[in-house]
């Protein structure tokens, strides 16, 4: 008879092994799903996982696109993970992402059509500041009025969406847009553009920022006092209190930082891949990043890999859609399978599977 025995310590081996195992299990389950739909399962799995990376005809394009797609996810998830580790739940990164894009874009558009080197740096600061302030609202509501940050940060997403719609139609509308909503294209305005830094790599400033955030978070969590405080608070609020950790300061730090990083992600997106603020600018990066943060086990390196893996399933999923005529819903089911197996596999990290003989009566 199989039974589970709790491990005294989470297994280090399984922490590394489970994601790999989960991907393999998902490939098998997904293969069965695609086979049931009448598609060749091997071709389908190859199209999703292999072709974006190694297909000789288009991988040179899709590989860099992985970075473009993963960068905002990683940048936002890193910020979220700090709070999540300390038990501070910022669910509203999508809103901070939108506000960062709007404040950053506003600064750039205010300078239009002047060309100067300092415009883009100013936009970056404005983007981070916008996200930071938007993240500060739930933080202050929490520290002053003890309002749950989960609810406040989430509700502020819808607020931010309304602001985005309003400025796309009004304040930031392109006066030369033939009556159509949406701002000027920031990617086509030299001083505000965030192009690929090295052609063909996909790496724009947002990708750089994402890598920098991974390193910074790693150092913060492993070497810095603040990182220690975050971890202690996450383990036990009471212990943190006894240790003299200022809970309010931590709340403000975590929500502010994750807001600033989400704001940066929005700014890099609006100046690069997206180009303009429109009524449909946000595509859910702020919410997907929550998945990335947990998939990466709130560990900076894990988040980096999780962001890339999720980006791969997005891009490979698109390929599978038009190369194999798979419906987009089946790709979503497949992504869901991946997340579910990853989380389910967690059981091996904390539990040991033991085979026990049935005892004689």
């Amino acid at each position: 008879m199989i039974s589970l025995v709790k491990r005294p310590q989470p297994s280090k081996t399984w922490v590394v092994a489970t994601p790999i195992l989960a991907v393999i299990v998902t490939m098998i389950l997904g293969g069965l799903l695609f086979a049931a739909m009448g598609k060749d399962p091997f071709v389908a799995i190859r199209t999703i996982f292999w072709d974006p990376l190694f297909n000789p005809d288009f991988a040179a394009y899709s590989r860099p696109q992985l970075l473009v797609k993963a960068a905002p996810l990683i940048l936002i998830a890193i910020g979220l993970s700090l709070g999540f580790k300390a038990g501070i739940w910022n669910i509203g990164a999508e809103g901070q992402y939108i506000i960062g894009a709007i404040t950053g874009a506003s600064v750039g558009l205010a300078f239009y059509p002047m060309e100067a080197w300092y415009i883009f740096p100013l936009m970056v600061i404005a983007g981070a500041l916008g996200g930071f302030l938007w993240g500060l609202i739930p933080a202050l509501c929490k520290t002053k009025f003890n309002a749950p940050e989960i609810l406040v940060s989430l509700m502020l997403v819808y607020f931010a969406e309304q602001i985005m719609i309003s400025v796309s139609l009004g304040a930031l509308r392109n006066p030369e847009g033939n009556g159509f909503p949406g701002s000027r294209n920031l990617a086509q305005y030299a001083s505000s553009a965030n192009p690929e830094l090295i052609a063909g790599t996909g790496a724009h400033w947002g990708v750089m920022a994402a890598f920098a955030a991974v390193v910074a978070a790693y150092v913060l969590l492993s070497k810095h006092m603040l990182g220690f405080q975050i971890r202690v608070t996450g383990e036990s609020t009471r212990a943190a209190g006894f240790a003299g950790i200022n809970a309010n300061r931590l709340i403000i730090f975590c929500l502010g930082t994750s807001g600033a990083l989400a704001g940066l992600a929005g700014l890099f997106e609006v100046t690069g891949p997206a180009g303009q603020i429109t009524t449909s600018f946000n595509t859910g990066y702020g919410f997907t990043a929550i998945i990335v943060a947990f998939l990466g086990r709130l560990n900076p390196i894990g988040i980096l890999l999780a962001g890339l893996l999720l980006a791969l399933t997005f891009i490979g999923g698109e390929l599978a859609q038009f190369m194999l005529s798979l419906p987009s819903a089946s790709i979503q089911v497949f992504q869901g399978m991946l997340l579910m197996t990853l989380l389910a596999m967690d059981i091996f990290v904390n539990y040991k599977v033991v085979w026990r003989k049935k005892e004689a009566v």
Binding site: P56, F58, P64, S166, G170, T201, S328
Partner: protein
Amino acid sequence: MFKKILATTALAVGLAGAAFADDKTKVGFVYVGPINDGGWTQGHDHGRLELEKHFGDKVETVFVENVPEGPDAERVMTQMALTGTDIIFTTSFGFMDPTLNVAAKFPDVKFEHATGYKSAENVATYSARFYEGRAIQGTIAGRMTKSNIIGYIGSVPIPEVVRGINSAFIHAKKVNPDVEFKVIWIYEWMNPAKEADAAKALLEQGADVILQHTDSTAPLAAAKEAGAIGFGQASDMYDFAPAPRVSSIIDNWAPYYIERTQAVMDGTWETVNTWDGISTGMVGIGEITDAVPADVKAEALALKDAIVAGTYHPFTGPLNKQDGTPFLAEGEVADDGTLAGMNFYVEGLTGEVPQ
């Protein structure tokens, strides 16, 4: 390493056409919604299927559904172009800039963008004069309403949508001077939950006719529950006939898709700006059901005939703008340029175009 990637990119772009070249013409479609949305995207996908039926083995079609407007669209189009697609139809307004960007990188691939205003050497634009259908819809709506309140679900406030509201209102007012329009904007093309909420809000405000410029059948479902009437949008939505769906505006893209694909096969493809209406069949008026009295039906069909014959234009003066300033003088007809950029309401409409 970087050099290698660069070289491979150049190679991939250069060889893409050759590597996949075979007898078949490969036609790609990029959709904003799911192919079974019952409306806009389903209409385009119907065109794709007709295209396959028409050409048989000579074409291969590919599509991606649920593509968000923005950078994701650009990636989808690029991957399509890289896998040897000869012509790509991008069927949502928000795909405009991405289409232009990708087209610049693939001069040998033809692109067709629906409902936009930017074109290029290898980017054609196409749209339909939906406002002609709206005129007929407005006539029926104006005659059918008992509460004199007509609800209108607006999607994204681009000129096409504003034009539709104006056209429907002008013609409803013509047959029923007491009519009033209530417009709710949802700022999305397709969101069944929001569409249903908007429809319910309009019904609660006394509307007994619901017009929609959104893609799903949710407003019709809401109208059915409340005993109100509505119209099919983009696809026929005949499942809701004879009521609440009393007629519909059908987007018929198949002939256009066939014609343009043929041009690619013949090597005669050129960039064009197509804006066709009822007369060429691009805009179809779905069967007017028996829920509509015979005289109203006859009146609506007479209007349709006049539009097809070219003897009547839905935007004919005298018309004023909402603020009372003159728009069109007696007998004057709006030119296409004005219509293409229309972002104002005509006199009599309440509320304002969101800006």
